[in-house]
Symmetry: C2
Subunit: 291 residues, 2 copies
């Protein structure tokens, strides 16, 4: 039972995670719980919403035994506490071939204050939080596709994959500042193209400006590949050039890197430019239709 705060609008988000598709079967169960919260709360963050509560759907596969459920449940409790987003109920079923997790998260916003991906205008600057590509690198590392000799780097990229940080405080701070926002889940380039399309604009991204971590630099992965990675759960947002000071202030206050990576223009489509101004837009932008 929820008594909505007077005069606030509710926003809702629902994301499914399947074992072996969105997380690895041997990911620690508490990190799976944290990721389940994070991907949903990341959606709320992108709307500028404050988390209110969540419902869990747990479809149990054969690996979902007591040894898995105990740390998973502890992870849920920890995430619910950390994000002030209590579990309000849910449903559990068995009989599946693999575990399927569903979370519905509720958030609230003052009337008219919710951010959407469709409010960008030509001339707006495009920004992104954090560093891009670490999660995709983490997944590649866990699958044995890349090596990172420095254990601190390895730990960082694995954590980015398993326990992304939903940018809730940033989403709240961007209300009234950003003209459009969304979270980066399917790759920066693909999601930037979506934000631009929803805003009826073209978008230009300066590849050299895309923020990457030291771990990603050490891995030597091409920046273009990092920008087409996925699972970043950073916020991508557009704002008027007049808001630059406000955005820089928000970044300092939240101790969060916020990087101006491009701009919206009149027209349609995505262009990725290298440092020489050459168009290096790849054919594959991200995980389209990966579900």
């Amino acid at each position: 039972m929820l008594t909505p705060a007077l005069g606030r609008e509710l926003v809702l988000t629902k994301d499914l995670l399947a074992e072996g598709v969105h997380y690895l079967a041997d990911d620690p169960p508490d990190t799976v719980a944290a990721k389940l919260f994070a991907v949903n709360l990341s959606d709320l963050a992108a709307m500028g919403a404050r988390p209110v509560g969540a419902l869990l759907g747990l479809g149990m596969g054969p690996r979902c035994d007591r040894a898995w459920l105990e740390p998973f449940t502890a992870g849920l409790r920890a995430a619910a506490g950390r994000f002030a987003c209590p579990l309000l109920g849910g449903d559990t079923i068995g009989g599946l071939e693999r575990t399927v997790l569903s979370l519905t998260a509720l958030g609230d916003v003052p009337p008219g204050a919710a951010l959407s991906r469709g409010g960008g205008r030509p001339g707006d600057e495009l920004w992104v939080s954090g560093a891009i590509g670490d999660a995709a690198l983490g997944l590649a590392l866990l699958r044995g596709g890349v090596a990172l000799p420095d254990p601190a780097h390895a730990e960082r990229v694995v954590a980015a994959y398993r326990t992304p940080e939903p940018r809730i405080a940033l989403g709240l701070a961007l209300r009234g500042v950003a003209t459009a926002a969304m979270d980066v889940s399917d790759g920066l380039l693909l999601d930037a193209a979506r934000l631009a399309e929803a805003s009826g604009c073209a978008v230009e991204i300066a590849l050299s400006a895309v923020p990457v971590s030291r771990a990603a630099e050490a891995a030597g992965t091409l920046r273009l590949e990092l920008a087409a990675g996925g699972d970043d759960y950073e916020l991508l947002f557009a704002a008027s050039p007049h808001s630059r000071t406000a955005i820089e202030r928000i970044g300092r206050r939240l101790k969060l890197r916020l990087t101006h990576i491009g701009s919206l223009r009149a027209g349609a489509g995505l262009s990725v430019l290298n440092a020489d101004g050459r168009d290096v837009t790849p054919a594959r932008l991200g995980f389209e239709h990966r579900g």
Copy 2:
């Protein structure tokens, strides 16, 4: 985006359905959509809530192709319209061995008016809507476990299994009348035991009073078996004997059979009595932990 009605409380419910577990792989897709709505709205009905909206989680298995999705989507639209419960969003993933459906439904109630299963008191009468056991018979029929020579009977029990009717209007009418309510999903006896336990009472059920359909009578299935069936999605509720006239009036207004089947007593546990007053409580009450 939802603007909650001023001064109302929100209730939330989430149910998962898996192909081959909660519905049959060859059930018509539009009926699967109707059932997905019905099982969730049945939960709202049991709380006396009015549906407000729903979110869909669709985890696609190999049978979830275009030929399946088209009638399924049409069924979702039809159910959303019929129950005034618009689809507000959701998520779709692929890569599963079987289709898994998740619906989160939101409802609202005036403050303090929500029904729960825990409000029953010793002396309350126990009531149930509709007829019990048809859905379990329908499932048995579809699996070839029983035969029903009369096609009208067969159609009735299959419809009870595939497209149960959530008792929304009844739930609304029972606000302020019932002391406790829940929906019958895992078998009348098991769910009655749960309502009694939540209310801190014992419960006694007169087996001969349990309402069954002509189809069930024709099938010759034991009443005790029907009462331990499941998937009924009828409302089970407790009310003071003083409310009997009010309840009968509600039944007439809604053209819905409402049957007094037993009572709550001081103590704990479930007793099923036959017409001679002999205790015939079965060992297996219903689908415990079936998920």
